[in-house]
Amino acid sequence: MNNNIEPILTGRGLVKRYGRVTALDHADFDLYPGEILAVIGDNGAGKSSMIKAVSGATIPDEGEVMLEGKPVHFTSPIDAREAGIETVYQNLALSPALSIADNMFMGREVRKKGFLGKYMRMLDRPKMEQIARDKLSELGLLTIQNINQTVETLSGGQRQGVAVARAAAFGSKVIILDEPTAALGVKESRKVLELISDVRSRGIPIVLISHNMPHVFEVADRIHIHRLGKRLCVINPKDYSMSDAVAFMTGAKEPT
């Protein structure tokens, strides 16, 4: 879509090596405002590595990341978050022994007003719990009985929901989801897809990594095809079939 407007998040010539493996080999990346960009590719193609490089979870060996046209140098996920980029990593990144509320506000805790908050740095638990409850019920994904339940007591699907809800609640500029439905059932996957559409309708662009072609073709505005550590091409799902996409990403066909 809109090729005449500026991309919001850009990666250029990203390189990342792990020992002798080159996970990213001069990869490029562009996300435009308001769009859902799907990223697809074989296992080990380097999708997660790219996402980590643009969200500060790893520092690329080479290459440049730009947010709204300005170069940024994230050295931790916190930097990226502060810049408005929220990521749900493939491995979730929740602390099992902490409560749902604690997890949702990790790193951006809300303090009490006045003396207690300012000098005693006391957390405003009731407020955080209230917000967490609102966000989760807004999401409709969860039938969680107690917001103070520890995450380890949740099922895989529920955990996934908490992670997605956290990103949706706090992402102001970009939301990145790395295989958010991989372990989910049919019903739960559907909820996540609905959530993605919701978020996009709030005007926030989303990056969705997925191996599920029907899902990708259902929600994506553009599809970034990753192969052997780099961006092979970007296609419009209206112009190409799933077969084409799969053929490109597996090397069965060359994009023209």
Binding site: I36, A57, S76, P77, I78, R81, T87, Y89, N91, L92, A93, L94, S95, P96, A97, L98, D102, N103, M106, G107, R108, E109, R111, M120, R121, M122, L123, R125, T143, Q149, T150, T153, S155, R166, V186, K187, R190, L193, S197, R200, S201, P214, F217, E218, V219
Partner: protein
């Protein structure tokens, strides 16, 4: 933007919303189990009460006197301090074998800076605290930045700091009387408050206050939650926005500082500055932490538990001494207590809240 969803999904709008059933029958044991699960410091507290009771019944007034009971507090004060430092580290899934060495080196620095170089005692104390913080920083740097396992870092630092301590102090003890005369501030934590037969030293009072403050910080501030999150899963914490390196280093620095404070309290307790003190502080503090129900895997447990754990050991030690058993029986009992404590803890964990 509803493009074609796969057709089999169309039925989802009617799907049920009930969740997996929970079996409702709860035996008394189940209830106890979940109560204990929710309050990790409860078990050590109960054990503490029981042991007080048992020794009280056996020994009567000799044990159940204000004097004896506050004596236990005094004997436990140093372990309480060092145990507080140890708790912070263990909650991050670390372990600190160098706590005792840091404590002693700090106390030696406080003493020698005053007596060898004639510096003002307040400044010497600050230097001692600084040395503790620096040792903590080195530990923290190696753990958080170089990413070495805490066990090994602190095993190495233990030897290094202890050797520095002996080399620097030239094994000289500074006498209590000289301290009282020229540097009374070093004895500050030895000052006492008497209420009837009960004797509270400032060291004891300060130790209890420190534990309460840390308990508050760990539970009610963002930093505290981050410390737990790091111990729980440090990669997850990093990805969800915790500044893992900074927080870890701060934990080790604070632990070093607390050990240095313990060094100051130590001077108050034994009167003199002795480079040979505190040899077992690492094992004793780990014991208190473990009996207090704090998980060595990190992320779980309450610092109050550590205090109760230290007190349990104190009660057993004094109680058994008063009964007059061979001190070896105390060690054996503490060994059994350590294993039982985790066994109980393991049982409690088995509940899903």
């Amino acid at each position: 933007m509803s493009k074609s969803q796969q057709d089999f999904e169309s039925v989802l709008s009617d799907s049920a919303t009930d969740v997996a059933s929970f079996s409702q029958k709860k035996t008394l044991l189940d209830k106890i189990q979940s109560l204990l699960h929710a309050n990790p410091a409860l078990v050590p507290l109960i054990v503490l009460m029981l042991s007080l009771l048992v020794f009280g019944l056996i020994l009567g007034e000799k044990f159940f006197s204000p004097f004896s009971l506050t004596l236990i507090l005094q004997q436990v004060a140093i372990v309480g301090f060092v145990g507080a430092a140890q708790t912070l580290i263990i909650i991050t899934a670390g372990i600190d074998l160098s706590v005792g060495a840091i404590m002693v080196l700090s106390s030696v620095v406080m003493g020698q800076f005053t007596f060898r170089y004639g510096l003002p005692v307040e400044f010497a104390i600050l230097c001692g605290l600084g040395v503790g913080a620096i040792c903590g920083f080195i530990n923290g740097f190696l753990v958080a930045v170089v990413k070495l396992p805490p066990f090994i870092v602190t095993l190495g630092m233990w030897q290094i700091v202890l050797a520095s301590n002996f080399l620097y102090s030239a094994n000289e003890t500074i006498r209590s009387q000289d301290i009282a005369e020229k540097a009374a501030a070093l004895h500050f934590f030895g000052e006492k408050v008497k209420i009837g037969g009960a004797v509270f030293t400032y060291g004891v009072i300060f130790m209890v206050v420190l534990v309460l403050v840390l308990n508050y910080i760990l539970n009610h501030t963002a930093w505290g939650r981050h410390v737990y999150a790091i111990g729980d899963d440090s990669d997850a914490a990093e990805l969800s926005g915790v500044q893992v390196k900074k927080t870890l280093i701060s934990v080790y620095v604070i632990a070093g500082l607390i050990c240095a404070l313990a060094g100051w309290v130590l001077i108050g307790r034994i009167g003199s500055v002795s480079p040979t003190a505190g040899q077992f502080a690492n094992i004793e503090s780990i014991t208190a932490v473990v009996i207090g129900g704090i998980s060595l895997f990190g992320g779980r447990g309450s610092i109050m538990g550590m205090l109760f754990g230290a007190l349990i050991v104190g009660v057993f030690s004094l109680g058994l001494r008063l009964i007059g058993t061979d001190p070896q029986w105390t060690y054996m009992l503490i060994g059994i207590l350590i294993i039982s404590a985790v066994a109980i803890d393991q049982w409690i964990r088995r509940v899903s809240a």
